[in-house]
C-alpha cells in the first residue's frame, strides 16, 4: 500500500478534512487530516483499510502549533501508517481515538498530561505518569527545568 492508495481511499470519505497523503520512510504513508474529521478517519482506516492495531499516539509541541500523530499497523498489509493532525496551540483539542482503538486510552492520557492535548470524549482522562493535581505540562517547550524549591527536611536527629 502506497500513499496514493491511502489518498484514493480517504479523500472521498473525509472531504475537506483530508489534507494530503505523502510517502514516509518505513510506512505506507503519512496522512494529514483536519481535526474535525478525526473520527471518520479513524473508522475508515480501521474498517476499510484494515489498520486494526493502534501502535502509539504521540504529541509534539512545535511552539506555534501542536501536532498529534497516530501510528497504526495492518496485519494484512504488514505495514505501518502515520496519521497526523495539527492543532492550534491556543485550543489543542481533538476527538479521542479510544472509541475506535481502545489501546489509545493510556497513550492519550500521557499526551494530555505531558503536552496538554485535550481529547474530547475520552473515557478516563486522568494523570498517568505525574501525580494527581500536577499543574504543569512538562514536555511543552515553555517548561523550564529548575532547581527544586527549598523543601522542609524531615529529620529526627536535629
Amino acid at each position: 500500500m502506497q500513499a496514493d492508495d491511502l489518498a484514493r481511499a480517504l479523500a472521498p470519505k473525509l472531504g475537506g478534512n483530508f489534507l494530503g497523503a505523502e510517502p514516509f520512510a518505513g510506512t505506507a504513508g503519512r496522512v494529514r487530516f483536519g481535526r474535525d474529521g478525526a473520527l471518520d478517519l479513524f473508522r475508515t482506516v480501521r474498517d476499510d483499510l484494515g489498520f486494526a492495531h493502534l501502535s502509539m499516539v504521540g504529541a509534539i509541541d512545535w511552539v506555534d502549533h501542536r501536532e498529534v500523530f497516530y501510528v497504526v499497523w495492518s496485519d494484512g498489509a504488514k505495514q505501518y501508517a502515520l496519521l497526523s493532525t495539527d492543532l492550534p496551540a491556543a485550543d489543542p483539542h481533538v476527538e479521542s481515538a479510544s472509541a475506535v482503538w481502545p489501546s489509545a486510552n493510556w497513550h492519550e492520557r500521557e499526551a494530555w498530561e505531558l503536552v496538554g492535548i485535550e481529547f474530547d470524549h475520552h473515557p478516563d482522562l486522568r494523570h498517568l505518569l505525574t501525580p494527581d493535581g500536577y499543574a504543569f505540562h512538562p514536555l511543552l517547550r515553555s517548561f523550564r527545568l529548575h532547581e527544586p524549591e527549598n523543601l522542609e527536611v524531615k529529620s529526627r536527629h536535629v
Partner: protein, 201 residues
C-alpha cells in the same frame, strides 16, 4: 594436751559416717506450695519487673536490651525502586550475605522495621512511600541508599523526581554512590546499628 613424750597428740579424727545424715523436717504440705496460674503470674511478674526497673532504672536495663535485640534483627522492607535495588539484592546474595548481621528482607511493611529507599523516588510514588513508612511498626528507621534517594541525583532538576527522600520521611543514614556497592550498603546498616546502640528513648 601433751602426750607421754611431750609431743602434741594428733587431733582426733571423727569417724566417717556410715550413712548420710538425714534431716528430719516435716514435709511441705501440698497446699502450701505457691502455684500461680497464668492470669495470676502476669501481674506478679509485672510487679516484680516494675520493682526491678525502679531499682535499676530503665536506661540501665530495658533500653539496652531492646537496642541489642533491635540492632541485631533489622528487617528491611523488600522494596526495589531502581538500579540501587540490584545492589541491594546482591548484598543479600552469597558473596556479601547481609543475613549474617541479622538483616532479613521482609515482604510486608507490617513485619519490617527498616526502610531502605534504593532508587529514584518520583512524585507519583511519593505517597506510596509515605504509606509504606506509616504502615511499619515503631521503632522504625530509614536508610537513603544512593544519590537519587539522598538528593535527587542526576534527576534533581527533573519535573517528576523528589529531590531527596528526606523531604518525605525522616532519614537516619545516607549512603553515597551511584549506585553504592553492596559493601557500602552493609557499612550503612552497621552505621545504623551504632545509632541504635546509642538510642536513649
Amino acid at each position: 594436751m601433751t602426750g607421754a613424750e611431750g609431743l602434741p597428740s594428733p587431733p582426733k579424727v571423727a569417724a566417717a559416717p556410715t550413712e548420710l545424715p538425714v534431716v528430719h523436717e516435716p514435709p511441705v504440705p501440698f497446699v502450701e506450695i505457691e502455684t500461680l496460674r497464668v492470669k495470676e503470674f502476669i501481674p506478679a511478674a509485672k510487679e516484680a519487673l516494675g520493682d526491678l526497673i525502679a531499682e535499676q532504672g530503665q536506661t540501665k536495663l530495658i533500653r539496652p536490651m531492646f537496642n541489642w535485640a533491635g540492632r541485631n534483627s533489622l528487617f528491611p522492607l523488600h522494596w526495589g525502586l531502581a538500579c540501587c535495588a540490584i545492589e541491594f539484592a546482591a548484598g543479600f546474595g552469597a558473596r556479601w550475605d547481609a543475613e549474617r548481621f541479622g538483616v532479613v528482607p521482609r515482604s510486608s511493611p507490617r513485619q519490617a522495621d527498616l526502610l531502605i529507599v534504593n532508587g529514584t523516588v518520583t512524585w507519583k510514588v511519593a505517597h506510596k512511600l509515605i504509606t509504606l513508612y506509616e504502615q511499619m511498626p515503631e521503632p522504625k528507621w530509614v536508610i537513603a541508599m544512593g544519590n537519587c534517594a539522598t538528593g535527587g541525583g542526576p534527576f534533581r532538576t527533573a519535573y517528576s523526581v523528589v529531590p531527596g527522600v528526606d523531604k518525605l520521611v525522616p532519614v537516619d543514614v545516607y549512603i553515597a554512590g551511584c549506585p553504592p556497592r553492596p559493601e557500602a550498603m552493609l557499612a550503612g546498616i552497621l552505621r545504623l546499628e551504632e545509632l541504635i546502640r546509642e538510642r536513649k528513648e
